[in-house]
C-alpha cells in the first residue's frame, strides 16, 4: 500500500488525497510526503496510522521527510504509535497547541478514560466540549461494537485557530460498513450501505424497528446532524465509497433522514478502504447550544420513525 501526505488535505479538498491512496499490496506500507509542506486533516493522520498498525513496524517504509512542517507528524504521535523512528526533534520552545495526538482505543474502558483525560487538551468551554465528547464517544463505540478491527479505533483531533474549528478523524481497518449493515439489511454497494448507516432507526444488528436493547441505529445520524447544524463538513469513507456532507449555506437549517437530501458529494469509485474512516469539522463560531440541537434532531428522528412505521403497515386484504 502507498499513502502520500500532500501539502494540503482537509475535508473540503480531501478527494484527490483519497484517490491517490494505493491499496494494493496490503502487507506493506510506503509513506511519502510533499517535500515542502504537509498540512493534513486528523482523518488523514488516523488513516495513515491505521494502515501502519495493520502492517506492523517492520513492513513500513517511510521516506525521509523534508517538509518544513514535518514536526507536526511527530507532535501528533504518528511515529511513536507506529513504533518507527522519525529522527525529527521537536524544540521545547514551540507552543503546546490544542490537539489530541493519535490514540489507539481498543475497548470501552480505554474510551471512557480517553474522553475524561484528553478532551481537556482541546481547552474548550463546556458548551463547546459537549458535542465533541458526544461525537468521539459515539464514533469510537461504533468501531468497538461493529468493526471487528484488530487495532480498534485510531483517533486524532486538532484545534485550528484561523478557522476556529475542531477537526476530528477516526479510522479503523475492520470489516467496513457494508459487511456490518448487510447482517440485517440489503446493501449491494458500499455507498448504499453508508446511506443506510446514516439513516435513523437502521442498525446492522437487527431488521427490527427500534433496534436492539444495545443499538437504536441513531449514532451516525446524530453525528451527521451535529455537523449539519454547525454548517460544517462530515465525511465517511468505507470500501470504495465516500459520502461527504458539504457546508450548509446561510439560512434556516433543515435536517433530513435521507443523507442524500442533504447538500453532499458522494462517489463509489475510490480506492478500496478496508474498514471505515470518519472525518468531521466543528466550527466553534457556529456551535449551537447542544440542547437546542437535540430539539431539532428529535423532531426529524421521531418523524422518520413514524414514516417508516407507516411504510411497514399492511392492511388486511378482503377478497
Amino acid at each position: 500500500m502507498k499513502i502520500h501526505l500532500p501539502n494540503s488535505a482537509f475535508l473540503g479538498n480531501i478527494d484527490s488525497f483519497l484517490r491517490r491512496f494505493d491499496s494494493s499490496g496490503p502487507d506493506k506500507l510506503e509513506i511519502t510526503a510533499n517535500k515542502k509542506w504537509i498540512s493534513i486533516h486528523p482523518a488523514v493522520l488516523a488513516m495513515t496510522a491505521a494502515l501502519g498498525l495493520a502492517v506492523g513496524p517492520k513492513n513500513i517504509h517511510c521516506e525521509k521527510l523534508e517538509a518544513a512542517s514535518k514536526h507536526y507528524l511527530e507532535r501528533m504521535g504518528l511515529f511513536k504509535l507506529l513504533g518507527i523512528k522519525s529522527k525529527i526533534e521537536i524544540t521545547e520552545h514551540e507552543p503546546a497547541g490544542r490537539f489530541i495526538p493519535l490514540t489507539k482505543i481498543t475497548n470501552s474502558q480505554e474510551l471512557s478514560r480517553f474522553i475524561a483525560d484528553t478532551i481537556p487538551l482541546l481547552h474548550l468551554k463546556p458548551e463547546q466540549a459537549a458535542p465533541i465528547k458526544y461525537i468521539l464517544s459515539e464514533l469510537v463505540r461504533n468501531v468497538l461494537e461493529h468493526a471487528h478491527a484488530k487495532n480498534g479505533a485510531i483517533v486524532a483531533a486538532q484545534y485550528y485557530k484561523k478557522s476556529n474549528t475542531i477537526r476530528i478523524g477516526i479510522a479503523d481497518t475492520g470489516v467496513g460498513i457494508r459487511e456490518t449493515i448487510s447482517q440485517s439489511h440489503s446493501a449491494t454497494t458500499d455507498l448504499e450501505a453508508i446511506k443506510l448507516a446514516l439513516t435513523p432507526g437502521i442498525t446492522g444488528t437487527t431488521r427490527r424497528l427500534g433496534g436492539t436493547e444495545q443499538n437504536a441505529g441513531a449514532g451516525l445520524f446524530f453525528i451527521k446532524s451535529i455537523a449539519k447544524v454547525n454548517r460544517d463538513f462530515f465525511l465517511i469513507y468505507s470500501g470504495n465509497a465516500v459520502y461527504k456532507l458539504l457546508k450548509s449555506k446561510p439560512g434556516k437549517i433543515r435536517l433530513y433522514a435521507d443523507p442524500f437530501k442533504d447538500r453532499h458529494s458522494a462517489g463509489e469509485d475510490f480506492p478500496f478502504w478496508q474498514g471505515t474512516v470518519v472525518g468531521i469539522d466543528i466550527n466553534l463560531d457556529e456551535t449551537k447550544e447542544f440542547s437546542l440541537l437535540l430539539d431539532l434532531i428529535r423532531d426529524i428522528y421521531i418523524k422518520t420513525i413514524k414514516e417508516r412505521r407507516k411504510e411497514k403497515y399492511r392492511r388486511p386484504r378482503f377478497i
Binding site: 470501552s108 474510551l111 471512557s112 474522553i115 475524561a116 463546556p126 459537549a130 465528547k133 458526544y134 464517544s137 459515539e138 463505540r141 432507526g201 424497528l209 427500534g210 433496534g211 436493547e213 444495545q214 443499538n215 437504536a216 441513531a218 449514532g219 446524530f222 447542544f290 440542547s291 437535540l294 430539539d295 434532531i297 428529535r298 428522528y301 421521531i302 420513525i305 413514524k306 412505521r309
Partner: protein, 96 residues
Amino acid sequence: MIEIKLLPVVGSFAENKDLARDIRIKKIIPALEKGQKVTLDFKGIDSATQSFIHALISDLIRNYGAEVLDKVYFKDCSETVRKIIQIVVDYMQEMD
C-alpha cells in the same frame, strides 16, 4: 422504592453503554420484578449519549410496555440529559 445514583458509576458524561446495561440488568430489572419503583438519579451528570440512555431504558419499555414509565423516575436531570431521555422514550413508544 430504590434510588440508583448514576454519577459514581458512570461519571459526569454518561456514555458507557456496558455500564448502562449492567445497571439495567443488575439493579433496575430486579427491583421492578420485586414490584419496587426505581429512581434514576442523574445529579452531577452534565450530558449523556443517546446510546447510553437507549441501553439503560429502551429494553424496559420494550419488555414491560410504556407503563414502566409510571415506575421509573428520572431525578435531577440536566437539560441535555432530559432531552435525550425524551428522545429515547418517544422513539421506543413510536415503536410499539
